[in-house]
Every structure is written in C-alpha cells, then in structure tokens.
Amino acid sequence: MDLGETAVKAKAFSYFRAATIDQALDAHARAGDDARFIAGGQSLVPALSLRLQAPRLLIDITHIGELRGVRREGDALRIGALTRHCEMLSEPLIAEFAPLLHAAAPFVAHPAIRNRGTFGGSVALADPASEFPAMTLALDAEIEIAGLSGRRRVKADDFFIDLFETALEPGELITAVYVPLFRADQRFAFDELARRRGDYALVGCGMLATCTGERIDDIRISFFSVGNTPTRVKGVEATLIGARLDAERIAAAQGALEGDLAPPEGDEVPPSMRLHLARVLLGRLLGRLGEGA
C-alpha cells in the first residue's frame, strides 16, 4: 500500500530496549548508525509516522537507570536526561535550584505530552522554538555526552550549532545536564508569547541575573523562536551589566536587541513582527526582574 504524503504509519524498524548506556551506544554502532534513540518519543514518533525519518533500528533508552534522577553534585544540579517535562514542575530540587526551568515547564506542550517528553530529548532535538534548550543557555548549563570514545561535557554556549544541529556526533547520547545551583543573589524571569497556551511560542525568552542589591553584576538572556538556534543576546546583556533596571536602561536594552537578533525571512511571522514581539517581551521581563521577580 502506498501511503504517499499522508502516511501516518512508520516504516518497519527493529526495536531494542537497552539496559545500560554501553548497550545503547553499542547497538547504535552495530546498526551502522542507521538508528535512533527513543526517549519520550514525543517528537520522534510523529517524525517516524510521517516518514520524515525511517531508521532500521529504534533503541529505547528509557530503561537506563543512569539517565534518570535529579540530584545535587557540588555546586551544580545534575538533571538526568530522562527527567520528564512534568517532573520539572513536580520535583522540589528543580523548583529550588533551577527555578527558571520550573517557570518554563508549564509552557512546554500540553500536560499529556509533558508526562512523556524528556529534558534530554528536548535538548538533543534542539528545536529552535523549544523552551528548555534556550534555558540551558541562560543557565550556563553543561551538557554531558556519552560516546564510544568516552564521556565529555559541552557548555550550552557551544552546543547549539545550527537548525536541529548540535555538538552531538551520530550515536552519541546525552546523559545529563548540569545546571549551576540558583543562589540568593540571583533573579530570573521567563515568559513567551504564543497564539494559544501549549502552542509553540511566536517568541520566548528567559533570563538569569546576578545582582548586588539593585545592581546587575551579570546577566544571561536567551531567546527562542527567533532563528535557527536558541539565541543569547550578548549585545543586550552588555548594556545591562553594572546597571540598575530603570525605564531608561530597559529602553536602551530594547534598542540593542536589533543588533543581536535576525529573525529569518519567509516565515508565516514576518521578521519585523518577531523583532517587535521580542522587544515587548524583553521590556516586560526586565521590568519584572527590576521588581525582584
């Protein structure tokens, strides 16, 4: 039967449930890298059903204990790759030590998708419209990667390369993401503009600032749905360091945004509109940050 363009049934594949990271890596290599890891499947299953992808082998990583769990390790929070989106809302360690992720989580898809989708899957996919990949940039997180040649850690700043392209090599697995623990001298803010709750954002933004009293010592601001990758706006950040957040300073930061963002042409949303929405959102979030939000 030719299902043509309307196909909603995946092509045939073999399925392997890996019990350990080594098993998963080994299976991927033995399939000649014509394989996909499946975590929550909330992006991969539709891609297979629509036959946008048709690997020979599906490697289920959800039974690998080492990829699970959230815990403190020194001055970082280790968030296992299999941490589900819904756990970002329910896990007390996230609320306390990575509140920016906790704040972003309700905006990720719908409740039932959050019950399955995983943090590692979201970061690995690197959808430029996704909340969590962008937040790893604002948080200065590190992504831990396992491959046949061993483990390495990549800074979020170096992880997102281009549209759906990351520092992951074929057959490599994200094991965990390390996020510096949130501190008392820090403030954060998150919001997005979407047509409906649960839809992908027209523009979204999250930020994390380190302050002395009202003065900003350091700030990281990351946008999503503005281009091919989640995007830090370093020009804007530079206008804010050492400053207090008054109306004038916020306007200056909004003015600097144009130098940092270049939304693509040819989208259903014109670049000028996206830029405008990004300015509005930036102003709102800096206002909240100034109020100590």
Binding site: K9, F13, R30, V45, L50, A112, I113, N115
Partner: protein
C-alpha cells in the same frame, strides 16, 4: 555482554510478544515494532473507545493512562509500553470520578459526535486527580491539546468545572 543481537536488524517487521495489564486484566499480544499503542488497543484488543484522529500528537483523541498518567497512545509504540499498566476509557468508566464526568458531559451536552470525548475525559480525570479546585483557566489549559470540532468547548469546560466544584464541596471524595 552487549545484550544486542545483530540478527534483530533483519527482523524489522517480525512481530514480538508484548504483555500489559489493560483495565486490570493481564493480556498478551503480538505486535510489529512499528505498531502504535492506539492501533494495538483498537485492532488487536478491540478496545475501540480510544480514538485515532491525527495520529501525530495534535488532537488528543487517543489519550489513555499508562502507569497512571495520561499519554497519547498514538505517540507510543506498543513495544515501548510492554510490561506497563494501561487504562482506557472502557476501564476508567468504573471509577467514581470518571462516571461523574460522563454524567455531567451528558447533562450539559458537552459532546455531540463524541469523537473527542474519551480524550477529554482522560485529561479531565487527570486534572481533577491532581488539582482539587482548578479555575476555568486551569481547565482550558489542561485541555489545550484536545480538539473538539463540534461543541465549541464552552460546555466541556462547564461540565468539568461543575464536577470539580461538586467534588470540592464533598471534601474531594470520589
């Protein structure tokens, strides 16, 4: 000790045996790895209360509970759910909360063709199990991934709101 057998690669469309507990009953069936859970439930187990709409996660008609949480059965291959506990609309109808929701949907005309109803009920059930007093905003939020082509949603929100309030007054008892 790789656990991976290369011959598996040549058996892409061979069926494998999976076991679940579906609506409290142990079942086993043969599925191809590419069969989704919704196809398995409807075609193999003849539980057609779970509906298949878009089959890509957009409409919410296929919601079931897997190990107690609402999930899209079109976004899971049956092999992934092997060993799991699955509750469909057929099984959940026995429970007090779901029966109350059904009665209220009926009373308020919160369904017309009924295609979206099983998914709406599974999501509403999860919302009310987790949030004692949801606002109408919370209800709309919880249903943001469920499409209804008939009712215009208002009656659905009304019905869930009414059940939430009734349960609130009874001290949350089901």
């Amino acid at each position: 000790m790789s656990g991976f057998d290369d011959s598996l690669l040549n058996e892409a469309d061979e069926t494998v045996r999976v076991r679940f507990v579906v609506n409290g009953r142990k079942v086993a069936c043969e599925v191809a790895p590419r069969d989704t859970l919704v196809d398995c439930l409807r075609d193999k187990l003849e539980l057609t209360g779970t509906h298949a709409g878009c089959e890509m996660g957009a409409c919410g008609a296929c919601l079931v509970q897997l190990d107690g949480r609402a999930v899209h059965s079109c976004l899971i291959f049956a092999v992934q759910a092997d060993g799991g506990r699955i509750d469909t609309i057929e099984g959940l109808s026995e429970s007090g909360l779901l029966a109350d929701l059904q009665a209220e949907f009926h009373r308020r005309n919160a369904l017309q063709c009924g295609f979206c109803t099983p998914g709406m009920l599974i999501n509403a059930h999860e919302l009310l199990s987790q949030t004692a007093q949801p606002s109408r905003e919370d209800i709309r939020d919880a249903l943001s991934g469920n499409y209804c082509r008939c009712t215009g949603y208002e009656a659905i929100v009304d019905a869930i709101d009414a059940v939430a309030k009734a349960h609130g007054e009874n001290g949350g008892a089901t």
